[in-house]
């Protein structure tokens, strides 16, 4: 896939995220828009995961710790052919399998997530199993910056370094906002890089909307042999829709009919 095609996918994904959030009248709009470029690069470039190999023990694993941004994951999985995209018309509807967090009832989803601070420990277990079985699959987990105060993350960060899990890559969607306000005001976790480095991780910063930079970062894994890798992806909450960008009201805001039309117009024009 060319850079241009990949960029077009991000744009289409953003439109679909909004479409299904509007359809469900619920969703995590800002965070889904901030992490979608990361998911795009992972699923369309980096990960060895497809509907065909999903039951293979050798597939790469992607575990979304920030489960609330499930709309981003679902539109990518649909695009990859895990399930028909029209299924997403049932998102959050009565008796649908497509709930507001990742669930294994949906093909392509590795783990049921939603409670924060759970993705990294499970990913550590996956990566440890790969080492024990001498398999070369890799494990990726996407975390929000707002979930970093969960203590289980730091417990798992210790274990990952202790067992030298260089087949593990954690990505932080650092949009610097969470539901209450800026992460710096709620519970400052900066400097994230120094904290993880002191825990024994190798860390890289990347512009989380620069597809080329994301590709290069993932291409260079592991950042250091014998160490787990952390990508701090600097992102903008609500990215791609100007009136949503950096506005905490869009954490789980649902666009009105007019706002949805405006957003689609802006995204279409950017194509």
């Amino acid at each position: 896939m060319t850079e241009n095609e990949l960029a077009q996918k991000s744009n289409q994904y953003r439109q679909r995220i909004l479409k299904y959030i509007v359809g469900a009248n619920a969703g995590h709009t800002g965070g889904s828009l901030s992490c979608i470029d990361i998911l795009n690069v992972l699923y369309n470039y980096t990960l060895n995961v497809s509907p065909q190999n999903f039951s293979s023990p050798d597939r790469d694993r992607y575990i979304q710790s920030k489960g609330h941004c499930v709309e981003a994951l679902f539109v990518v999985l649909a695009d990859k052919g895990f399930f028909p995209e029209e299924d997403l018309n049932t998102l959050c509807k009565y008796q649908s399998h497509y709930i507001g967090h990742p669930t294994k009832k949906v093909k392509g989803v590795e783990q049921n997530t939603g409670a924060l601070g759970h993705g990294l420990p499970i990913s550590v277990g996956n990566a440890l199993a790969a080492k024990m079985d001498e398999k070369d699959f890799r494990v990726f987990t996407l975390m929000g910056d707002g979930e970093l105060p969960e203590g289980s993350n730091w417990e798992a960060a210790l274990t990952a370094a202790h067992y030298k899990l260089d087949n593990l890559c954690a990505i932080i969607d650092k949009n610097s906002l969470q539901i209450t306000g800026s992460t710096a005001d709620v519970c400052n976790t900066d400097p994230i890089d120094e904290k993880f480095e002191s825990f024994g991780w190798a860390v890289k910063h990347v512009d989380g909307h620069d597809l080329k930079a994301l590709k290069e970062a993932f291409d260079s894994l592991p950042f250091e042999a014998g160490k787990p890798s952390l990508v701090i992806a600097h992102t903008v909450k609500g990215k791609g829709v100007s009136f949503m960008e950096n506005q905490i009201s869009w954490h789980h805001g649902v666009p009105s009919k007019e706002q949805y039309a405006d957003a689609l117009k802006e995204l279409s024009e950017a194509l």
């Binding site: 409670a115 601070g117 420990p121 550590v124 199993a129 417990e155």
Partner: protein, 323 residues
């Protein structure tokens, strides 16, 4: 009727030791078996296991949430993970990981709660697990069991290794005499084990309380001519409803016995079933009342709350109107 009571402690080992020796035996041929510990290999009797199979033990350190999360990740990648930690910490601190990462995500972690109930005795309430049945019973997709003796323990571990289901097993530290039954049926989760039969009343017990229930039954028979059935209801969830229904119809009274709070455990599980199935004979739940326990050893604490030969036989006599 009734089987001879084994008063002798000869050959009796703590269930915990049988857990570790059985796991070690299985690990020799099954290389997917992994013990996951939270600085608990000593208290889990897993030091020999770790020495013999260093590649099949994962030390997490004292971090129970991570213990369960990592075990879930190991299980989802095909390992048979036995997450071993004191029951008090495993089922309270890591409850959300048990709920989400194990049960809800259907990752077949074998959760092993060691030194359960009041096994830690005078170390006090931080180290007691009197809430675990209640907390875990309310979580979907989790077998909850407390084997009574070395036989049940060995069978439970073998079944746990062979089956691919999330489960919680709880063990104490005390030597547990082997219980013998008139007709041994193959051990199965969700199938109670009838230790002896008698029509006057029934003790339904689990874990380490089955033995004092059996002692009480023998005392009642010898001293009062009262014939009691004793059931090791090792699986608290799913409960053996077929056996309960049979007992409800045939017995004169029911006493449940558990090393757990009287709230939310085996007793209330039985009560719920019985009340909804037309049982209207005497019924009593024996367990730890709603308080932080008296100070003492495990035996002293259990004695204090009537979970003993004397205490249970007195409870039976009262329930039957003979005291």
């Amino acid at each position: 009727m009734g089987s001879p009571l084994v008063e002798s402690q000869v050959g009796a080992k703590p269930n915990l030791e049988v857990f570790s020796s059985t796991l070690q035996e299985l690990a020799e041929t099954d290389k997917d078996i992994v013990a996951v510990t939270s600085d608990s290999r000593g208290s889990g009797k897993l030091v020999p296991f770790g020495k013999k199979y260093p590649k099949q033990i994962v030390e997490i350190g004292i971090a129970e949430q991570n213990l369960v999360g990592v075990a879930a990740g190991l299980a989802s990648a095909g390992k048979k993970a036995f997450a071993v930690s004191p029951a008090c910490f495993l089922t309270a601190r890591a409850l959300e990981q048990i709920k989400n990462d194990v049960a809800y995500s259907d990752n077949p972690v074998r959760l092993i709660g060691i030194s359960a109930g009041v096994s830690y005795g005078a170390l006090g309430s931080t180290h007691h697990s009197l809430h675990d049945y209640a907390a875990l019973r309310a979580i979907n997709n989790l077998i909850v069991a407390a084997p009574a003796d070395n036989y049940e323990t060995e069978q439970a571990i073998k079944l746990a290794a062979a089956s691919n289901k999330p489960l919680y097993l709880r063990f104490g530290k005390k030597n547990m005499p082997l219980l013998t039954t008139d007709e041994e049926v193959p051990f199965q989760f969700g199938k109670g084990r009838v230790i002896c039969k008698g029509s006057d009343l029934t003790f339904i017990a689990c874990g380490e309380t089955v033995y004092p229930a059996l002692q009480a039954a023998e005392k009642l028979r010898n001293e009062q001519g009262i014939e009691a059935t004793v059931i090791s209801m090792h699986t608290i969830k799913p409960l053996d409803k077929v056996l309960l229904q049979e007992i409800a119809e045939s017995t004169g009274a029911i006493i449940t016995v558990e090393e757990h709070s009287i709230y939310g455990g085996l007793g209330e599980a039985c009560a719920s079933f019985l009340l909804q199935n037309q049982y209207n004979k005497p019924f009593k739940i024996v367990g730890i009342p709603d308080e932080y326990t008296v100070t003492g050893s495990q035996v002293e604490i259990l004695d204090h709350y009537g979970i003993s030969k004397e205490g249970l036989s007195n409870t039976a006599l009262k329930l039957l109107g003979k005291m």
